[in-house]
């Protein structure tokens, strides 16, 4: 309960910060919208040239891509920890975090909220509806609920990977280039996994579960029965990986060395 109220308190603080710079806010919203529009055109143009990929039709691939954008938008709004090492460990901001009575990871997530990334979800939804209607998918009454559950599960899985990688900063103070690499690998989840070879598929499912952000949950809405088991595993995988990530984080905090003054 305390954490829920803290979430809204920090959200309020974030809004206030944003409203301090009015011009900035307007420009940012405009550029975000423009960015998403460009993204949308890009997706339609690129996939316009694809026909069939390992048994997936063009529209199905577009649908998966669209679905991916939704958990990805949730992830980018709430798990903004790609610069954790620089911002919190090297600069010693972690000291301040650790003297406050809220779980350290939760505080960092709250401090780094970036709600404008949620615009990406709008693009995702447009893509989904566009692709869904050309395939002729029907929406059952429970589909929106499953959609939300799967999207959150995917976002948790995505977040878990990045939390685990951010935790490396507790063990080594050297800058590492794993973060940007991970963003690239994350993109593999946007395409059907059966176009990759077995090893990559295994990795994307069980080690870096990016496939649970895009293709697996999307397969359910596309009525691909052979993938249903994976689809419904999405929220579970998301939770399990997230819990593992939090354990790694907690271990890391014990190793925190602090920055010199």
């Amino acid at each position: 309960m305390f954490y829920v109220s803290m979430f809204f308190q920090y959200m309020g603080q974030y809004m206030k910060t944003r409203l301090q710079y009015r011009a900035d806010l307007v420009v940012e919203i405009l550029s975000d919208l423009l960015n998403q529009a460009v993204n949308l055109v890009f997706i339609l143009v690129v996939f316009g040239h694809t026909q069939l990929l390992a048994g997936w039709s063009k529209d199905e691939i577009i649908f998966i891509y669209g679905f991916f954008l939704v958990p990805y938008a949730i992830f980018s709004s709430f798990f903004n920890i790609w610069d954790f090492n620089d911002r919190y460990i090297v600069k010693g901001e972690m000291d301040r975090i650790l003297t406050r009575p809220i779980h350290s990871l939760f505080q960092i997530i709250l401090e780094r909220i970036e709600l404008e990334s949620l615009f990406g979800a709008v693009t995702g939804l447009i893509v989904i509806f566009y692709a869904g209607s050309s395939i002729g998918l029907e929406i059952a009454w429970y589909d929106p609920i499953l959609f939300i559950v799967f999207a959150i599960g995917g976002a948790l899985a995505y977040g878990a990977i990045f939390i685990a990688i951010a935790s490396i900063g507790f063990w080594s103070d050297a800058k590492n280039s794993i973060m940007p690499m991970m963003y690239n690998i994350g993109n593999y989840g946007r395409y059907p996994v059966d176009i990759y070879n077995k090893v990559i598929r295994f990795v994307l499912t069980w080690i870096l579960p990016f496939a649970f952000v895009g293709v697996y949950p999307a397969a359910y809405f596309l009525g691909k029965k052979e993938w249903y088991a994976f689809s419904f595993a999405t929220p579970i995988i998301g939770l399990i990986f997230f819990m593992i990530a939090v354990v790694i984080w907690n271990q890391g905090v014990k190793r925190y060395r602090g920055a010199g003054n």
Binding site: Q9, Y21, L98, P101, K254
Partner: protein
């Protein structure tokens, strides 16, 4: 609860990577790394009673910050035990954090872009402070620190002194029984320093708040603290009252002279004086420095002797700084220092 802080055999080691020299060494470093284990805090023991005001001093790198970070639950000790407010800081961190206030001179607790009062409001929620307590308690703090007019300004527009006073207020929102201050007066002008010292004494009297502060300013300690704990290379080398520390170790005064005419060191050394004086020449500032024992009227005797022989441009009498006291103790050996306890 009588003891706010209990520290037993507390130790923190850091692994430091020591690189070999040369290109060949760099290649060898790639394969096998050599680590040195350095104890930043070396088996220290001390207790602080509720309501005490303690200065924690030492040279840079002596282990002050490391100790404070272990006491506040930021760092996990390598070995030994820490009990603060009856809790283990790093194990029960979130519960523990509610019972302490922390001010790190170089780090801000406040939100940079928004008004000070908005930061206060959020911290009030974070620490679950009830409205009544907040209104009554904070009204007093805001008035004593004189920050009322600053509350609606964004933190980024405040001066260092203004910000520091706001930081102090922010650390006290939940009225903690224990307050840690790491260099609270660094870089501040004298008026602000005086105000902060007075404020610390006030809250200590009013709420019996325990205060542990690190500082390089002897005046801070004189004004605020009744006890001094001094660290050197991770070990406590002095723990006791400020007065006995000064009596034993700060007996020397420095007197700086600048002359209008050319004067040689040997001329000064041959001045007829009844007590021992050692002279030094600081070439950079063209200043002659006399070191004398602070007894009876030594200072006036020295100055009158110098003035009667040479034309002086400037005289400066300096209080011994903490660094010098530490250096004195360090040079004369730890064993004699501990006897002063």
């Amino acid at each position: 609860m009588s003891n706010a802080i209990e520290v037993k055999q507390l130790r923190k080691e850091f692994k430091v990577f020591s690189s070999r020299s040369g290109l060949k060494g760099a290649f060898r470093d790639l394969l096998t790394r050599k680590y040195k284990v350095v104890p930043a805090v070396n088996d220290i023991n001390f207790t602080v009673k509720q309501g005490e005001m303690v200065a924690y001093i030492g040279e840079n790198g002596a282990g002050k910050s490391t100790t404070i970070k272990m006491l506040t639950g930021i760092l996990t000790p390598t070995s030994g035990s820490v009990r603060v407010n009856g809790m283990d800081p790093h194990r029960e961190r979130e519960k523990f954090a509610r019972t302490i206030g922390v001010v790190f001179g170089q780090r801000s607790q406040l939100w940079w872009d928004i008004a000070v009062q908005e930061s206060f409001r959020l911290l009030k929620k974070v620490y679950k402070v009830p409205d009544e307590q907040y209104n009554e308690h904070m009204a007093h703090i805001i008035e004593t620190l004189d920050i009322g007019p600053l509350l609606d300004k964004p933190v980024r527009k405040l001066s260092l002194g203004q910000r520091m006073r706001c930081e102090l207020a922010a650390a006290l929102i939940h009225n903690p029984p224990l307050l840690f201050l790491d260099e609270p007066t660094i870089g501040l002008d004298v008026l602000v320093k005086v105000k902060i010292r007075q404020f610390l004494k006030d809250i200590n009297q009013k709420y019996n708040t325990t205060i542990l502060l690190t500082t390089h300013d002897l005046a801070d300690i004189e004004a605020v603290c009744d006890r001094v704990v001094m660290l050197d290379e991770g070990k406590i080398i002095y723990d006791g009252g400020l007065q006995s520390l000064k009596n034993n170790w700060a007996e020397e005064k420095e007197i700086h002279f600048q002359f209008l005419e050319e004067v040689r060191l040997s001329q000064l050394e041959s001045l007829p004086l009844l007590f021992e004086t050692s002279w030094d020449y600081d070439e950079k500032n063209q200043t002659f420095i006399a070191y004398i024992k602070e007894e009876s009227d030594n200072i006036s005797q020295l100055i009158s002797a110098v003035v009667s022989h040479f034309k002086i441009k400037d005289v400066n009498i300096l209080e011994t700084s903490i660094e010098e006291i530490v250096r004195n103790i360090y040079e004369q050996g730890i064993s004699t220092a501990v006897r002063g306890v």
